[in-house]
Every structure is written in C-alpha cells, then in structure tokens.
C-alpha cells in the first residue's frame, strides 16, 4: 500500500567544531540549498518540512524550528520536529519518507542538524536525571562499561577499536565534509592518544560538531524525472526499548536486532552480509562497529570483531562500513543519523566521490540513540524494489 519514495537531493554542510561563520538559519540553509540544488529545485517546490535534532539544551533555544520556519521555506507548510535522541537523524528521515509513502505530499525536505557549539554538548549529555548520581561525564562514560562487557563476552582483541578508528579516520580524508581530518593518522597515533573512559581513547571517540544534513524526497513519478538518478527507499524500520530492566542485553540490544530483521524482511534480504554492498552505521566510539556488525546480522554473535580484523569493513573490503568517516569523524548529534542515510543514498547514486564504493546498488543507513535503545534504519537501492 505504501507509495515508493526516492531520494532526489542530498546536501551537507562542512562539519566543524564551531561553525562560527554561520548562524543557525545559515547552517540549515547551507545544507538545504545544496540538497535543493542537487535536485534542481527551490524552496517553493517543497510541500512539507521535517526537521530533527537532539535536545534543545545543545543550542539553548527551545523548539528552534519554530524560529527557523521561514529560513527553511516552511512558511505556510506543515513542519514537524522529531527528537529521538541520537537516532533522531534516522527517525526524522523515516517520518519524512512516511509522508511520501502515505501519498500526502509530492516533495518533502528533511533536515537533521545540530549547532552544539552554541551551548555545551558535554554538559548537556552529563545532566543526570534529578535525584540520581552524576557518575560520569559524557556519553563515552555511559558506553565504556558496555564495551567492557562486550570484550568479556567475545574475547575480542584489545586493539579492535583502534583498527576501526584508523579505518574511519582514513576514510574521512576522502570526504570533503568531514570534521576531523588527520592526514598523518596511523595506528600508533590512535593507540597513544589519551585514554578517556577505558577502553575508549581520545582518537577512538567522536568529536563534537556543528552541522546539518538535508535530503529532498519525492514520489515515484517525480523521482523518475529527477536530474540525478534517485536512491529508492526499499525498506525502513525503527524499534525502541527501555534502557534498563532485569535481563536486558544492552550490548546486543533486542530493539536493534528486531529493527534489522524487520528491515531485511521488508527489503527481501535473506543474507545481509552478501546482499548489502556497503553500510553507513552509527559508530560514535570505535568498538561499536564490531558490536553493530553482530546486532545488524552481518556477523554471528561474538564475532563482529573478526570482520574488523579481516578488513571486511574497509573501503576495499567485502562490506565497507562508514566510507564517509562516520560519526567518529563528524558528530553533529541531530544530523549524524541523517548523514548515515544520506551517505548510504549517495553511494547508490554514485555521488560519493573519493569514498565511493564501486557498483554499490544496495546500501544500509543506520542510527541509534539513548542507552542503545532507539534504532532507526533504512535500505536504499539503485533500482526500484
């Protein structure tokens, strides 16, 4: 019953620690105008806008999309603001895709963004719920114990994370938008970088970035006529679960596994490792690549780290992961999920330039958030499903 949806325009800002050269409206318009240009459209052609970002404390503006409405061409149009923690970029795109699938609009603009240098993201992430203990600062402090648990279960070698970080940082050098670009990056540089939350080192962690990512989505008929071949949405899924309860597996969460299973079923994928050409997944701390390989069904349980070791996830591997440099290279929290989707879509449209995977026809975009409890994902195809 759902109508087919195609991605016909993609735009990203240059990600950086502080985009002091633009205001908030300027930041969003940079991405939006690039996406519109890619689709050879203007704001006037857009029927609805869906915006996503993480907590408003990161900019110190409450419901900033109300303030941004006219800057992004939403005047007189429907405007939605999604917020699902770190997965928001993905779930925002999911909502925008639904609008096309439902047949409600012909062209939808969706933007994920964060200008977290305006406030203080570290502070924002460290605000503990009232009456509870502020034990750690930053998301890394929350996830590091989970990574320890993964190492204990899987017996993964200690340098697994470093290998992923090296790959992502080398990939970033091929992505003109990436925030962190370290030309002389090597294994030792990462291994010797300061340990932050054991076992996560500084160069195994994501930066804090300002940035926005926009996509223009269209109906089948309009996407067929688009100037650049569209990325067709083959499937999308999302699942959530509470972040702490007896018996919860926070390392390989059920919500992630179920979302992936749902995605593959809709996309008629029976062997994800073979059938998916490459993936952009949400890896804010290096070890998550190994863990998500299992959660996404690319590797059996406790063996995700082997894919990292074998080089399977390298740009020239059999399942390249985070060709763009990933969240490890750019993390504007509200945008990161959408960047994963956008980069995955760019691959099937042949737009990824130096980090293009040749012949990519089926790609996966993935985002997660909260205490590894919110998952959004999308399957893009060069051909219609």
């Amino acid at each position: 019953m759902a109508n087919l949806c195609g991605v016909i325009g993609i735009g990203q800002t240059k990600y950086d620690a502080k985009r002091i050269d633009v205001s908030m409206p300027g930041l969003l318009r940079e991405a939006a105008l690039r996406a519109l240009e890619d689709a050879q459209l203007t704001f006037a052609d857009i029927d609805a806008v869906v915006i996503g970002k993480a907590p408003d404390m990161f900019e110190g503006v409450m419901l900033p999309e109300n303030y941004l409405a006219d800057a992004i061409g939403a005047t007189g149009k429907p405007l939605l603001r999604v917020h699902t923690a770190g997965s928001v970029g993905g779930s925002t795109a999911n909502v925008a895709i639904s609008l096309i699938q439902a047949g409600l609009h012909e062209r939808v603009l969706t933007i994920g963004w964060e200008k977290q240098s305006e406030s203080n993201a570290m502070w924002g992430l460290s605000l503990s719920p009232p009456f509870s203990v502020a034990v750690v600062a930053g998301a890394g402090g929350y996830f590091a114990p989970l990574i320890h648990a993964y190492i204990e279960r899987s017996g993964a070698p200690e340098d697994t994370g470093i290998r992923t970080a090296l790959k992502d940082r080398q990939n970033a050098l091929k992505n003109p938008y990436a925030h962190l670009q370290i030309p002389d990056i090597d294994f030792d540089k990462i291994a010797n970088s300061p340990m932050l939350w054991d076992p996560i080192r500084y160069l195994e962690s994501c930066p804090s970035s300002d940035g926005a990512c926009a996509m223009v989505l269209a109906t089948e008929k309009l996407a067929e006529r688009a100037p650049t071949p569209p990325a067709w949405v083959h499937a999308m899924a999302m699942r959530s679960e509470p972040n702490q309860f007896p018996g919860r597996d926070a390392v390989n969460p059920a919500a992630g596994r179920k979302a992936a299973a749902d995605l593959y079923k809709q996309g008629r994928i029976s062997n994800p490792r073979k059938e998916i050409d490459c993936a952009e997944i949400y890896v804010p701390f290096s070890w998550f690549e190994a863990m998500w390989m299992e959660n996404l069904g690319f590797a059996p349980e406790n063996e995700g780290w082997k894919m990292v070791y074998e080089g399977a996830t390298a740009l020239d591997g059999d399942l390249p992961v985070n060709m763009s440099g990933g969240v490890l290279s750019s993390n504007a929290i509200g945008a990161s999920g959408m960047i994963r989707y956008a980069e995955a879509a760019m691959q099937v449209r042949g737009q990824a330039g130096e980090h293009q995977v040749d012949g990519a026809r089926k790609t996966l975009g993935h985002a997660y958030g909260g205490g590894s409890q919110y998952f959004s994902m999308c399957l893009f195809g060069k051909d219609k499903p």
């Binding site: 019953m1 759902a2 205001s23 993480a54 907590p55 408003d56 404390m57 990161f58 900019e59 110190g60 503006v61 409450m62 419901l63 900033p64 109300n66 303030y67 941004l68 409405a69 006219d70 939403a74 005047t75 007189g76 149009k77 429907p78 405007l79 939605l80 603001r81 999604v82 917020h83 699902t84 923690a85 999911n94 909502v95 639904s98 609008l99 699938q101 439902a102 047949g103 409600l104 924002g124 992430l125 605000l127 719920p129 009232p130 899924a237 999302m238 699942r239 959530s240 679960e241 509470p242 972040n243 309860f245 969460p253 059920a254 179920k258 979302a259 909260g370 205490g371 409890q373 919110y374």
Partner: protein, 349 residues
C-alpha cells in the same frame, strides 16, 4: 486516504503534581489502552510528544518509556512538539499501510520551571530572547493589536474567560472552574495589559493518551468510532513583526485542508491558551457564531503544555463518542502567538 478513527482517550490534569512523569503517565496510558479493547502488544505503533526544556531534562521522553509498555521492543517515535503532532505522525503511519493502530501520548509538567522564562527561549535567540520577554507579555502584544483591529473589547475577552470557567465545572479534569461575574473579572488588575489573570492559561501538570485505528479495526473496537475526517497543520513565520499577529493564517490554511467548511460543525475544542486567541481562531477557522466553543473549558482552564493540544482533540472525541454532538473541530497550537496550528475535523460514525 484510509479511514482512521479515535477509539479511546484518557487524561490526567492537576494544578501541580507531586508524582513524577512516569507515575502520571502510566495510569493514563493504561486507561487508554484498556478502553481501546486492544492488548498493549496488539497496538502497532507508538508516538509521543513532550519537551526537554519544559521538563528541565535533556531526553525527557526517555524516562517515560518505562511506563508505556516498550518491551518487547516497539515501533516508536517522538516529536518535540505537542502530542497533537504525535497524533499526526501516527495518523500518517496508518496512511502508509504499515500499521493498523497506534498509541499516542504526551505529558507536560509546567510546574517545575518558571514557564515565563522557559518560553522566552522559544524566540529569536539573536535579537529577542535576551530581552527575556515573558510569554504572557508577548501574547499581550498580540491581544492589544487584535482588540484594535477587530474592534473587540476587554469585556469580550472576559466573557470568553467566564464562559470557559463556567463550562469547565462540568469537566472533572479541568483545573480552573467556577462561576465568575464578568464585571468582577474586569475589575481585576492587569497581569500584562490588556490581559488579566483570567485571560491567561491555567498552567498545569498533566498527561494524555489516545488510541487510533484504521477503518475496519476501529469499527470492531468502538461502539461509535470517531473518525478523523481531515487533519492538517501549518506554520507561520516566527518574527513577531513580520506577520499580522491579529490573524492566524496557518490555522486558516490547516482548517481549509482539513475540510472545516465542508459541513455543519456542532462544537469546537480550540487550544487557545489566551482568551483573545480563541477569537482569532474562530475567525481563522471560519466558525459560525452558533458553534459552541470549548465545552471542556479549553486551555484557558487547563493547560499542561505539550499535552494540552492532544487534550483538546481528546475532549472533542469524548464528547462525540458519548453522543453529545456529531461533528467537531479540534485544534492544537504551538509557538508564541498562534505561530503553528494543527486542525482536525472529527465525526462520529
């Protein structure tokens, strides 16, 4: 478009709650699910609305998940908006055919923070927020302009307030209620001219939950499903000096798209937190003078911000479901001075 009906609704409202968000929400969600006739696990999609800055907590919606049945994992999403927009997202999901039913909920505790200061953050961060204009004063500017343009008086506003409070007496969930004499109200000092206390919302703590279902399922579940015949939302530019604050163009467009003018309307539940905004909305929605407005008492009497829009829609549903009216308009607003508006038309089977 698929037929989508509201099959159940529950709410909780109080001036100030000592319970935390999960404790307020849990029984409301439970009640809505119970009334729906579906088991929790049979509801395909969950969507909620809330605001971090209102709650004083980043990721405020995460703790709510404990109380709404998120295990085994659920298809769930959240908007940083009033629950009315979560309803919209859920309605869209049903239109795609991916799901047949949805649970929508929202919560808002206005008591923890100083709402006037919190809402000042919802203005232009470069040129306006620093003046720390409180929401009532911003609304007051709109009220002054409106009274002038529409040639209405402060008495007209007091009458809206008195009528709302009088009607609220019949609503067990309303927070402000009672018999107020318009003369006495007018004798009260201004809070921020031309607005007096009674012209401003009764900010409260509350939660709402609603279950909707597609066509045949709705018919199976409800004795009298209340159909969402049309639903649309629009937004106007933010800058207070850029638009005509005395009108609500976005509400007008949304009303037209939702099909408000197509048939007779029995009553309307309008999310107008300020008395003059009810008058602006009636004009924008093209409501005839014989349409009963806010039989629940409306947001003037009960306003758990981020929950009150969904509350108005729920109140309209409940009235139709009980047989008191067949066709109603329900509205939700967001942002200062009616910047963003959602309008839906509900019709009983």
């Amino acid at each position: 478009m698929r037929d989508v009906g509201i099959v159940s609704f529950a709410q909780s409202n109080a001036l100030r709650e000592v319970r935390n968000e999960v404790e307020i929400l849990l029984p409301v969600v439970k009640e809505a699910v119970k009334q729906s006739g579906l088991a929790r696990t049979e509801i395909d999609f969950t969507c909620s609305g809330s605001s971090d800055f209102l709650q004083g907590q980043p990721f405020a919606f995460v703790m709510a998940l404990d109380g709404v049945g998120a295990w085994p994992p659920i298809k769930e999403s959240h908007v940083e908006m009033d629950g009315a927009w979560a309803l919209y997202e859920a309605w869209v999901k049903i239109q795609t055919g991916e799901v047949e039913s949805a649970l929508i909920y929202s919560f808002g505790k206005t008591s923890p923070g100083d709402l006037a200061e919190v809402l000042a953050l919802q203005l232009d961060p470069y040129c306006v927020t620093q003046l720390w204009p409180d929401a009532d004063s911003v609304a007051g500017i709109q009220a002054r302009l409106y009274l002038s343009r529409a040639r209405k008086s402060e008495r007209d506003l007091a009458e809206v307030a008195a009528r709302s409070r009088r009607d609220a007496r019949a609503n067990p969930h309303a927070v402000a209620k009672g018999d107020f004499d318009v003369e006495k109200l007018l004798a009260e000092p201004y809070r921020t001219s031309p607005l007096r206390d009674h012209d401003c919302p009764t900010n409260s703590d509350g939660a709402t939950a609603m279950v909707i279902a597609a066509g045949d399922l709705a018919r199976e579940l409800a004795k009298r499903p209340v159909w969402i015949r049309g639903i649309d939302h629009r937004i106007d530019p933010p800058a207070l000096g850029v638009r005509d604050l005395t009108r609500a163009p976005s509400a007008q467009i949304a009303a037209s798209k939702a099909g408000v003018g197509r048939d007779k309307i029995d009553f309307a539940e309008l999310d107008a937190p300020y008395s003059h905004q009810e008058l602006i909305l009636c004009e924008a929605l093209g409501l005839r003078p014989d349409v009963r407005i806010n039989p629940s008492g409306g947001s003037l009497c009960t306003r758990a911000l981020f929950s009150c829009g969904l509350n108005r829609i729920g109140d309209a549903f409940a009235r139709i479901a009980s047989g008191d009216g067949d066709r109603a308009v329900a509205h939700a607003t967001q942002g200062h001075c009616l910047q963003q508006n959602l309008v839906c038309v509900l019709e009983g089977e």
